[in-house]
Symmetry: C2
Subunit: 328 residues, 2 copies
Amino acid sequence: MVTLHDVAKFSGTSVGTVSRVLNGSPHVSEVARLRVLRAIDELNFTPNRAAQSLRTSRTTLAGLIVPDITNSFFGALARALARELWAHDYGLILADTAESLEKQTEALDALGKRGVDGLFLVPTTSTRDIANPLNIPLVTLDRTLADLPGVTSDNRQGTSLAVSYLHGWGHRRIATIVGPTTCSTAAERLEGYATTTRALGIYSRSLIREGPFSYAFGKQAMEELLDEPTRPTAVIASNDSQAIGALHACAGRGLRVPQDISICGFDGSELASHLSPSLTSVKQPISTMATHGARLMLELIETGTAGSGAVLLTDLTIGESCSVPPSH
Amino acid sequence: MVTLHDVAKFSGTSVGTVSRVLNGSPHVSEVARLRVLRAIDELNFTPNRAAQSLRTSRTTLAGLIVPDITNSFFGALARALARELWAHDYGLILADTAESLEKQTEALDALGKRGVDGLFLVPTTSTRDIANPLNIPLVTLDRTLADLPGVTSDNRQGTSLAVSYLHGWGHRRIATIVGPTTCSTAAERLEGYATTTRALGIYSRSLIREGPFSYAFGKQAMEELLDEPTRPTAVIASNDSQAIGALHACAGRGLRVPQDISICGFDGSELASHLSPSLTSVKQPISTMATHGARLMLELIETGTAGSGAVLLTDLTIGESCSVPPSH
DNA sequence: TTGAAAGCGCTAACAA
DNA sequence: TTGTTAGCGCTTTCAA
């Protein structure tokens, strides 16, 4: 292993100087800097992270806790975040909670003990607040929590967009299948839906179904909606899994989408765009979310405070794929 | 911050003893152990990872490099692996290459420099061999590479299973859409298909299409197959994305699945099982893969050599969802 | 602008 | 079985 000492010797300087060069200190003469750089290159030197951490008590490591990495939305988020942090020389440690609050607590604790510099959290739907207010920066992603700093999409705008879109196609009985409203995103999506349908005069409580962000619930809720005396001509789901469940419930009843009924998902995962030409979905700006999240985190780590405690992303779009007016 | 020293003082022992307790050394009296344990608990002490790393030159950190974390198969693999390593007190750093060989090389390099103890790699389809034979343990997952230690499913068996299954339902014109055969899994899946169809006397070159593991290619290939003079009555894809592409190509031609044509995927992602009752898929034993991978890695890290250089998982199953005999 | 040196918290070798 | 001590490789203060 090549150490700072070796570089110093090779370049005819001292460890202090080498360290200064490494850390971009301005108090190094140009000659020294060049000689050191040359030596580093020549010896193929890489600073020892453990030693740096021990001295500076910073690990250049962040943790990411997601409820379901299997969900392509969170997969895409993890990818974008990893890439972003990467660019700042930070590694990202992954933890998946499978929507279990207990596992989330464990993960929070273990990552804290590991000594990560910061923690990104997409809280479980059943999270009320974080049990152990760790002393390291915590940034929520997608789903917000109390007054923790975080980045989230303008979910109200998202469903509002969807309602307007469907209304524009002539739909009047627009239902919604919403996630657990203990979760900020679900609550906000419901709010956007309610506000907009009310404004259009087409709101009805009987068109709302609340439950887990799952395929199974999407299917079940859709079946209930189809059993209503006058069934909806369009449905807005809170995520793509629910939307696909709804899709299959319709298929099971011999209804064609979108000819007989329109379905709109949320997240805009590739899944949705591929699933069928007929599943429209509200797209979240995933990489923007990652960029802002990383910025927020680095700010928090560097300065201890975040300029903007929370970031709201407003560039949601609706992935129009194939739509038709209601058939009745 | 509480240090070893504090614990020693509090428990009336010395740092040596505390360290021994921490590392499970047998040379500690029961009294001393108890007093130390009590102090650790009392002071809420957590050993400093950086200091440990510096001394032992081990980070208890592993890297995972996947081509596409957005794909739920790799998502599930990452989750299982993280959980498994976790149980052994190892953290998992995630890197996604988006099937880019260049990004893979970068990731390999960067993670190596970070000082992870081992690297899990699902090589890009275009990987021929690893450019920089790092001096840290490398274990391939799913896709194998040269003679690197790794864990893979018995892919031949998988497609063989699928062919037999479809043949059992009466299918005779069984096509396949296969991934890039530079990739071990694709090559093996093709091999299993070819061997089995030959044995049954139903092999035909014109029923084979090779290309990327993507939705787009699956769709394109299916369209080509449907243009054949006598079209296949069943198709086996190399992964679920391709299968879904194929599904949509059929839908686009007004063909119903499985009534008019049967489609079988590979990976058994939730996606497939949810996608529609009509997409059958060969399920890989993902968590077994993770368990074996972790075992292999820990062995490699601990002893420097792996008992079994490569592990072949044979418990693939076919997720029968809804099948019918060919309509012609 | 530089070099020398202290020490971050831990493990392991040595002595007792 | 135990305590003492020498570093692991680095950053950073202090003098020069």
